[in-house]
Amino acid sequence: MKVGLVIVSHSARLAEGVAELAAQMAPDVIVLPAGGMATGGLGTDYEAVSNALDRAESGAGVVLLYDLGSARMTAELAVESLGDPSRAYVVDAPLVEGAVAAAVAAQGDATLDGVAEAAAGAAREA
């Protein structure tokens, strides 16, 4: 049971790319992309984020990372609509670096707080 990750982005490809990069070093962690609008354009999709949030939760909680401010707001709304909003954190971190750091921490069985801290503290190394 590991913390899951959701990558919230305006771009489907960006979210997918971040998810594949992060998953590479964390094969047992669920890292789900939620990027782009349902209509295909650049933008955030609340339902997609909510769905990913559900699917990334395996009991240890979920960390959400985002690209730009409006993606943060969409992520927050999705979290607020959860039965228990304290099980998911929207973390302010550089998206790519934070996702890799968070995925590696989750792979190492860090707690929800630990994964969130790993993302937020993602330094530029490696």
Binding site: T39, G43, D45, Y46, L77
Partner: protein, 214 residues
């Protein structure tokens, strides 16, 4: 002179028309200091709302109508305006509670709740060059009008007037929130698209309530 659920629905439909009519204007404003989608975002969101109003059971209360608008915008707008106006409408829906009819004070209180929602969601302060710069004076004007015994239409009309001025006041500002903040100093001398849409929405509500003329 109150506002029933039919009045709220009519106001939302009128907002959809106004947003659609001003789609290009809002896109152009957003092109200069953003990503050129604000008008398209709002048109998409309000068009989806009209579809829902056309196709599903009519909402039973003003609160239900506002809530439907909130969830629809949140799901379909795709840009910052979605969570921001969505949260505003959610808070407004909570504010009006189960009232069957909104009076002037209720409308002013709903606007205050909407502003609080936008600020809670977006963390912008007045002067950051956002919709907050239109909504903040609009709420103050609405409250003043309600306190002085105005009708719902007059309250909304006062709010719309103040929002127009508030929007205009964003022109010289340097953006500190939203995409425009990436432009730094270059964001000055341009009207903020979200403040403009806030003014347009309030004007459409006022007109729908019968008090559109200044």
């Amino acid at each position: 002179m109150g506002c029933s659920v039919e009045g709220v629905v009519a106001a939302l439909r009128s907002a959809a028309e106004v947003v659609t009519a001003h789609r290009d204007e809002l896109v152009e404003l957003d092109r200069v200091i953003g990503d050129a989608d604000h008008g398209e975002n709002l048109k998409r969101g309000f068009t989806a709302l009209v579809s829902k109003l056309d196709l599903s059971e009519p909402p039973a209360t003003p609160s239900a109508a506002l809530k439907l608008a909130a969830t629809t915008l949140i799901s379909t707008v795709g840009g910052a305006a979605g969570p921001l106006y969505g949260t505003a409408l959610l808070r407004a829906a909570t504010s009006v509670g189960d009232a069957a009819e909104l009076d002037a004070a209720g409308v002013a209180a709903a606007l205050r709740a909407a502003l609080d929602g936008v600020v809670a969601r977006g963390k912008a302060e007045p002067g950051d060059k956002t919709m907050v710069d239109a909504l903040t004076p609009a709420v103050a004007a609405a409250e003043a009008a309600a306190a002085s015994g105005s009708t719902v239409a007059e309250v909304l009309s006062a709010a719309a007037d103040a929002a127009d001025e508030g929007a205009a006041s964003t022109v010289p500002l340097v953006a500190r929130k939203g995409r425009a903040s990436y432009l730094g100093e270059r964001s000055a001398n341009h009207l903020d698209p979200g403040s403009r849409s806030t003014a347009l929405l309030l004007r459409s509500f006022a007109e729908s309530a019968g008090g559109g003329d200044r």
